[in-house]
Every structure is written in C-alpha cells, then in structure tokens.
Amino acid sequence: MSELLRDLIYDYTLRNVALGSALLGIVSGVLGTYAVLRRQGLLGDTLAHAALPGICIAFLLTGSRAQLPLLLGAGIAGWVGTMILLAIVRRTVLSEDAALGIVLSTFFGFGVLLLTYINQRVDANQAGLDKYLFGQAAALIESDVIIFAILGGIALALVLLFYKEFKLLAFDPEFAGSLGFGTTKLSILLTSLIVVAVVIGLQTVGVVLMAAMLIGPAAAARQWTDRLGIMIVLSAAFGAMAGVTGALLSFTQQGLPTGPTIVLALTVIVVVSLAFAPARGLVWEWLRRQRQRRAFALDVARLKAEGHLR
C-alpha cells in the first residue's frame, strides 16, 4: 500500500495517469451535475461521438497530431453537432431522443470514414488517432495533464463565475428567462463547457465511455443531497475517486485497460449510492416498506383479535 502511494507520487507514468484521470473526473463531475439536472445526460454521449470527425479533419488540415488543433477540431465538431441537434428538435417532428441518436451515429460514421481514409494513407501509428476511440489514459504524458489542467481550470472558473445563472437555468429556465437572463446564451455556454469536458475525456476514456463520466458521478451525488453546491462537490469527488481508482487498478493489475476500469469503478460508486445513500437509498426504502408491511399485518391481526375486523 505504502509502495503504491510512493509510486503515485514518484512514478512518472502513474502520476500522470492518476492526475489526468482525476482531473477528468472532477471536470466531468462538475459539468455532469448540470447535464443530469437538466435531463441532458446523453448530450455528452452525442458530443463525444460527434467530436471524431472534427479530430480527423483537424489532422487532415494540419497534418500533425499536435494536441491543441485536434482538441479544437473536436470542440468545433461537437459544437456543430449541437447546433444540428437543436435544429432537428426545434424545427421537425423528430424527438430529442431521435435527434441525439441521429447526430451521434452519423457524425461518428463520418468520423470512421475519415479515420480509415487517414489510416490508409498515413502510417496508423504516426496518425495515432485511434486512441480517441477507446482512450489511452495509460499513455498520458505531462504535457497532456497540463493541457487538461488549463482547460479544466477555465471551465471550472466559468462555472464558479456563472454559478447563480446556471443554478437558475438548471432548476427553472422559464423563471430565469422572465428575469431577463439570456437562457439560450447560458445554455450554449454550458454546452460548450461540456464540450471541454468531453475533449479531456476523449483521450482518457474514449468516445464510448464518455457518457458514463458525465452521468455517473452526478447521478451518484444526487442520491446523497438535495443541495446543488454539495452535489457539485460530491460529484467532482466521486469522479476523481473513480479516476484515481481506475488508474491504480490498471497500474497494479497487468492488462486491465485504464478507461474501462475507471468506468467500472464509477459504476460501483453509482450502485452503492443508489442502494445506500442516507435518505434516498433503495435498501433503506425496501427496509422501511418491510417494516410498514409488518406493522400493518400486526395491526390487522390485533384488530381481528379484538373483533373489529373479520
């Protein structure tokens, strides 16, 4: 154990992986809180898939796999996807559910087309875009972590700055609008911040598992509290916990991939929270029901014995 702790601080690889995963957990935990409260959890899933063609186009344009242009491409593609999503939801008969699925799958399909096109022409290892599919937390280096910290820091600072506005937007958007807040602008800002979280997540856990990083911590935190501030902090803590646990487990167990391990650790946190959170825990509710049922049976038996009931 102490050896593991020493590795966590001094081992270059493990430190970067754990730090990067923790940062992802915190940023997606905080932004996921708003996504879950606004019932937009799956938006993150769609944004993550929609980012792939952006990464490929950025690579085709710049010809290099320098970090920032690729992330910028991912961000822009995610953003375009969101705009198309809004156009479908607002202007056609199709539901939001259908719009999410359409943008997710067609953008991703286009991304796959571009990716395979690139891999036919450039040496696949040189392009190295495959890592965005499943994530490659184990390959995070110090410069990645620094970029994560800067991007995440900006996103968190904005959340802090717009705390009151986002709170209003999450709980009562009509009221926010009536008070004169630009709800559309705020909504776009919040979505853009989620894109930032997705961009960090793509490299760590990959396209498919990003949904879990946004939804899991927030859904778990929601069970423990009814207060937004506490929920955000808890959600960030759960995200970070899952990130570090996943990093440590995959470091010590040969062959355990980091991203999926993070998601499985997160799933455990979600299940425990759903079952055992103090007020909303399903186990407590079940016990309460059992108690009530027994009490009711006793009452009935007593009333029967006293002749009030037959």
Partner: protein, 368 residues
C-alpha cells in the same frame, strides 16, 4: 461468391433488417435505447465466445441476447426507482456493460480475434471469406444467410404484429384497454432489436448499428406521416444508403460501414433541408411567405384607416410609410410589392391608393 457481390449484398440486407424496426423505435422515442443495446451486447458476445471456446454463431447470439435483456431490464428498473431520469439510466447502464466487455476482451484474451476496430466499425469487408459449408458444399457467405434470416424475422414480426405495434406505439392506454399488452409488445420489440443488433454487430460494429436502425426511419418520418409508407420508405432509404456507401468506400479505400452510415447521414441531411413539409428550407420559405402576407395585410389596414382621415396624403405617401408603420424600408417594399401583386393597392404618383378588393381585405382583417 466474390467480395464485389457479397459485401454490398450484406450491406443492403443489414440496412434493410435494421430499418424495418427503426420506424417504431423513432416513434416510441427509443432511439437511444437501441444505441444502448448495440453497445451492451459486447460482454454477451465475449461470454459466448468463452463458453463455446471460439467463434460460434449460436453462442454469440445467446450471450448477446442475454446481455441485451439484462440491459433493457436494468434501464427499466433504474427508471422505475425514480432516482434518475430515463436518459441518465441509459447512460449509466450501457457504458458499464461496454466497459465490462472491453475489460473481458483485453484482460482475459489479449490474443482474441475481437479487436478494437472490429468492435467499433465491424468487418463487413471480410464477409465473403466466412462461408458456410453443408455436406461439403459451399453455400456462400455466412453473413448473407444470417442477415437474410434477420430480414425475414423482422418482416414477419412487423407484418404479423403490425396492428399491435401501431396501436401500442400511438396509444398505449387504448391498447391496454382493448386487451393488447403494451409490455409484451415492448419486450418483443426489444428482443427482435437485440437479435438484429447482434447480427449487424459483426458487419458494422457497435456504434454504427444504431445509425442503420434509426436514421433511415427518421429520414422517412421527415417525408411522410403515414406509418404504412414510412416503414417501406425507410427500408428503401437504408438499402440505397448501403449501396452508395459501398461505392464511396471503394472509391476512397476507406471503411465501408463508415461510408454506409455517412450516406444515411447525407440522405437525412437532404431530407432535413429539402423535405416538402418538414424541411428547413420549406419552413424558412413558409415563414417568409407568412411574414410577407401579414405585412401586406397590415399595409392595407393602415391605408384603410387613413383613407378618410385628414392626414391621408401625409400617411399614404410611399416615403412616409416606413416611418408610419415603423418598418425598415426593405420590409415596406416587400409589403407594397405583395399588396400590389394581390391587386390590393395601386401606385399613383408617389401615393398608394387602395383598390376595392384592398378595402374588402382590410375590412375582413379588421373584422377578424
């Protein structure tokens, strides 16, 4: 059978089988549920592989269908606890299943055939090499047999249960009152969707299955609002996308499944822009026309109100209209053009005169 024939044929069959179910999933708002299922079958496929000690069609189908059943049930149970909303329930369950599948693959069998690309994009390129032999006779590619079977299954499912599916989709309450069980129909649909996803998984991979299921149906929904038209139309759109995708992929030397899905996306984009009833262009045109019509009506009402007033000449001069109605000059021009075209006003040396039809229109508008 050569690849030039087997691959596009498999593509068309996969797309048709998927599209047959798509209409109901779109109308029931279960698009993301089908996304969840196509991801969540991964651990089941791997488990089937382990139990059969190698690639085995039946074991794969059983494992994957079981995994899909677990996923559907878990999402329903989570939703019913009312602790999380439907979207979050999906977003908790399917990544967990997918992560479990990935961990199983990489942890236990690093040498397994199920590699990352095959999971995400499928391997339709190689279907011609995986043939079925019976009594020593080559019966052609396995995928064609499997996907034909799935097409038939889905055709039978939709054909035999059409009435039940339609009723439970549009009015679950009425269906229940009439004695149809919406729950049984729901789970039946989930079952055939799962089986279809497993079949399509090996050809086009986890993420792209959902595109073939929902995108053609969504495209058809933009073009018609009749279910009986929507279903065959979505099958045609799916099949056409598969063929276009195949040609494009060959030309670019890129992923066939990616190109097929891109083609469905492109067709959806065309419908989104140009559908006569729902399209963005038609909608924008409609809005513009309405705006112009209302502007012309307002103009005649304005002229009518000032016709007998002392400031008539002042208000009805073309230059003053912009000020009087507080319209931009462009909007004023549009209103005047519209009103003259309808024969409501005539222009006489810088002034606008109402015609008799114009007066009638103004009275009608004011009476409304």
């Amino acid at each position: 059978m050569s690849s030039e024939l087997a691959v596009p044929l498999t593509g068309v069959l996969v797309a048709s089988a998927c599209a047959l179910l798509g209409s109901f999933l779109i109308l029931r708002r279960m698009a993301m549920m089908s996304d969840a299922i196509s991801h969540a079958i991964l651990p089941g496929l791997v488990a089937g592989y382990v139990l059969a000690q190698g690639p085995n069609l039946l074991a794969g189908f059983l494992g994957a269908t079981l995994a899909a059943a677990v996923t559907v049930t878990a999402v329903e149970v989570l939703k019913r606890t009312r602790r999380v909303d439907g979207g979050a329930a999906i977003g908790i369950v399917f990544p967990a299943m997918f992560a479990l599948g990935t961990v199983l693959v990489t942890w236990r069998f690093s040498d397994i055939h199920l590699d990352a690309d095959a999971i995400l994009f499928g391997s339709i390129e190689f279907v011609a090499f995986d043939t079925v032999t019976f009594n020593g006779r080559d019966l052609g590619p396995q995928s064609i047999w499997v996907m034909s079977g799935l097409c038939l299954l889905n055709l039978l499912f939709v054909g035999l249960l059409y009435k039940e599916l339609k009723l439970t989709t549009f009015d679950a309450g009425l269906a229940a009152a009439l004695g149809f069980s919406p729950v049984i129909v729901h789970y039946g649909l989930m079952l055939v969707l799962s089986i279809t996803s497993v079949g399509a998984f090996s050809a086009v991979g986890a993420v792209l299955v959902v595109a073939l299921v929902i995108v053609p149906a969504a495209t058809a929904y933009l073009l018609t609002d009749r279910l009986a038209v929507m279903i065959p139309l979505s099958v045609v759109i799916g099949a056409v996308s598969a063929l276009i995708g195949y040609r494009v992929a060959i030309a670019l030397d890129a992923s066939i499944s990616g190109a097929m899905v891109t083609a469905t996306g492109a067709l959806f984009g065309l419908a989104l822009l140009f559908s006569p009833s729902q399209g963005l262009v038609a909608r924008a045109w409609q809005t513009r026309r309405n705006r112009a019509a209302i502007a012309s009506q307002m103009l005649v009402v304005h002229l009518f109100n000032h016709e007998r007033a002392p400031d008539r000449d002042e208000e009805n001069s073309v230059e003053h209209l912009s000020d009087g109605l507080r319209w931009s000059p462009a909007r004023t021009d549009m209103a005047i053009a519209g009103a003259s075209r309808r024969g409501w006003v005539v222009r006489a040396n810088g002034y606008l005169e109402l015609t008799e039809p114009g007066r009638q229109t103004a009275r009608l508008v004011l009476a409304r």
